[in-house]
């Protein structure tokens, strides 16, 4: 994957910079999103300070970080809602700042909080939005997909909070997008609604969609993402699959000697354990209370963001 990945990245970048005509060619590359050295300032506030990452097609990518880290600003630039201060951005081969209708037709955006006309029914809403897209999904099938079949003829104001989020999702999916943006999809949710939202993200993955999600919940990033970037103060401080991020920390080996706890940190627990245990056996001792611990994603996150 390595070298072809690198090649397609440069190709997507070049086309992103060269504009729309070439941009459509890069639509066949495997990168859905490519961001290079992105900066965004609001007056004196430097919200995004040189973020770079790329998301492959079909991947679920999580931007994880505390509130105010620059996640939402980054996503809104990729969605075309905000203009960047500097840097290169290619989303499905387009520069989102151009707000090209053909770009909007290929992405689905689930907004953090978006209301809707309260007196419209679920089916009317989905059908109405379908007409704006060149190749929409079937409205009824989309309503089934998000689990609102029984609420098809209910008006929006009669829906529960969780059902309204499902409608949000149906409206984001009705254009049959290749890429779906989910900005803090579960913030403020109760556990049941949260579980529903997770199911939906997994459904998107099964449909082969690329998903970019932001969250400040570790378990959410861990459970849903193929890869995670941890964002702090407008920068990415770590990036990789959740399991690898956990593995990147040092192991802790500890045991008791004469009532005192001895703690070693190591990158190579196999070698350390061999030396410790063979020394102990040679002396005829036991290593009482021996433990080997690996940092959790939470440990890595807290270490990086605090």
């Amino acid at each position: 994957m390595g070298s072809s990945h690198g090649r397609s990245r440069t190709r997507a970048l070049r086309h992103g910079a060269a504009g729309h005509r070439l941009g459509t060619l890069s639509g066949v590359t495997e990168l859905a999103i490519d961001v290079r050295d992105l900066h965004k300032s609001y007056g004196d506030v430097h919200a995004v300070r040189g973020i770079s990452f790329s998301v492959r097609r079909g991947e679920v990518f999580g931007l994880l970080g505390p509130n105010g880290a620059g996640k939402t600003t980054t996503v809104e630039i990729l969605e075309g809602f905000r203009r960047r201060t500097s840097g290169e951005v290619s989303v499905l081969g387009h520069d989102p700042a151009r707000r090209d209708p053909s770009f909007q037709a290929r992405v689905g955006i689930v907004l953090q909080s978006a209301g809707f006309y309260r007196h419209v029914t679920v089916r009317e809403a989905v059908e109405h939005f379908a007409s704006a897209y060149p190749k929409p999904r079937d409205p009824d099938e989309t309503i089934d997909l998000v689990g609102l079949t029984g609420k098809r003829d209910a008006r929006v104001r009669q829906l529960s909070g969780g059902q309204q989020r499902r409608l949000d999702l149906a409206l984001a999916l009705i254009g049959d997008p290749e890429l779906v943006f989910l900005d803090e999809p579960t913030t403020g949710f109760d556990p049941a609604a949260r579980r529903t939202a997770w199911e939906v993200v997994r459904t998107l993955r099964d449909l082969g969609k690329t998903v970019l999600l932001t969250t400040h919940y570790l378990d959410e990033a861990n459970a849903l993402s193929d890869r995670v970037a941890i964002v702090k103060d407008g920068r990415i401080v770590a990036e990789g699959p959740p399991a690898e991020l956990q593995g990147s920390g040092r192991y802790t080996v500890s045991y008791d000697v004469g009532g005192r706890r001895v703690v070693h940190e190591t990158d190579d627990p196999t070698d350390l354990l061999y030396r410790l245990t063979s020394d102990a056996i040679a002396r005829g001792e036991r290593l009482e209370g021996l433990t080997v611990t690996r940092p959790t994603l939470e440990d890595v996150y807290l270490e990086l963001t605090e």
Binding site: A114, G115, R118, F129, S131, L171
Partner: protein, 244 residues
């Protein structure tokens, strides 16, 4: 679908939703007619008063269905995030806003028609004498107040304060602009304020068309004031538009 077809679709969507929200339909539509019927019933024996009231209520209806309703709705759509949602789709913006504006224009035209028909059928007010002047002042009044409504929405901070903001403009304006009584009887200061604002001129133009038979040529000042506000409103509406 073409932009024109999408505009038409958006328009039909807005029409359908309008009648489903009883309170909006009442305040935008039935309240001006109710006021017409109540006041006209009191003054039914005095044709002079009816000659003021019919064009006055027609002008007020134009302002209620365009200025008040558009500014209130836009604030709601903005604060609820509906505008942001629309912007996240490939729906062309001319189709979306065109459909919304056409919906307001329809309400205004329906209202003016109803006011004139009610005046004629129930209160023996003659049919309009100058149809061209009626069309010109109705069209310009609608365009002017629609532009000002969109522009005014930018000044309203949130949904909760929207009724206070719109009424703070609407209510004083209808009292000084000659909706219920001739504005000639007002103190000079209030009359000067009314002269500077568009509603009085829309009503004067409509009165000329409906009652006096005075054509467009007799109301050139009115025409100039309305067009001035129309241009200013349109510039502010577009220049300072906020999505969220």
């Amino acid at each position: 679908m073409s932009t024109a077809a999408l505009l038409w679709r958006q328009y039909r969507f807005e029409r359908r939703l309008f009648w489903r929200n009883p309170s909006a339909a009442f305040f935008n539509f039935l309240l001006p007619l109710l006021m017409l019927v109540l006041i006209a019933s009191v003054f039914a024996s005095e044709p002079d008063e009816l000659d003021v009231l019919i064009p006055g209520i027609a002008g007020m209806s134009i302002m209620a269905t365009t200025f008040t309703s558009l500014s209130f709705n836009l604030v709601w759509l903005r604060e609820e995030g509906v505008l942001r949602r629309i912007r996240s789709t490939p729906l062309p913006l001319p189709a979306y806003f065109g459909g919304m504006l056409l919906h307001a224009v329809t309400n205004a035209l329906l209202q003016v028609t109803l006011v004139i028909v009610i005046g004629n059928v129930f209160y023996d007010v003659p049919w309009p004498r100058d149809w061209l002047a009626l069309a010109v002042f109705a069209a310009l009044g609608i365009a002017c107040f629609a532009a000002l409504g969109v522009a005014f929405a930018h000044a309203i901070p949130n949904v909760d304060s929207a009724p206070a903001y719109t009424n703070a403009v609407f209510l004083p304006l209808i009292f000084i602009s000659g909706v219920f009584y001739s504005s000639d009887s007002l103190p000079a200061v209030l009359r000067a304020i009314a002269e500077a604002l568009p509603l009085k001129h829309v009503i004067d133009g409509l009165a000329g068309a409906i009652v006096d038979g005075a054509g467009v040529a007799d109301h050139l000042t009115a025409l100039a004031v309305i067009c001035g506000w129309l241009v200013a409103g349109a510039v502010v509406a577009v220049r300072y538009f906020r999505w969220e």
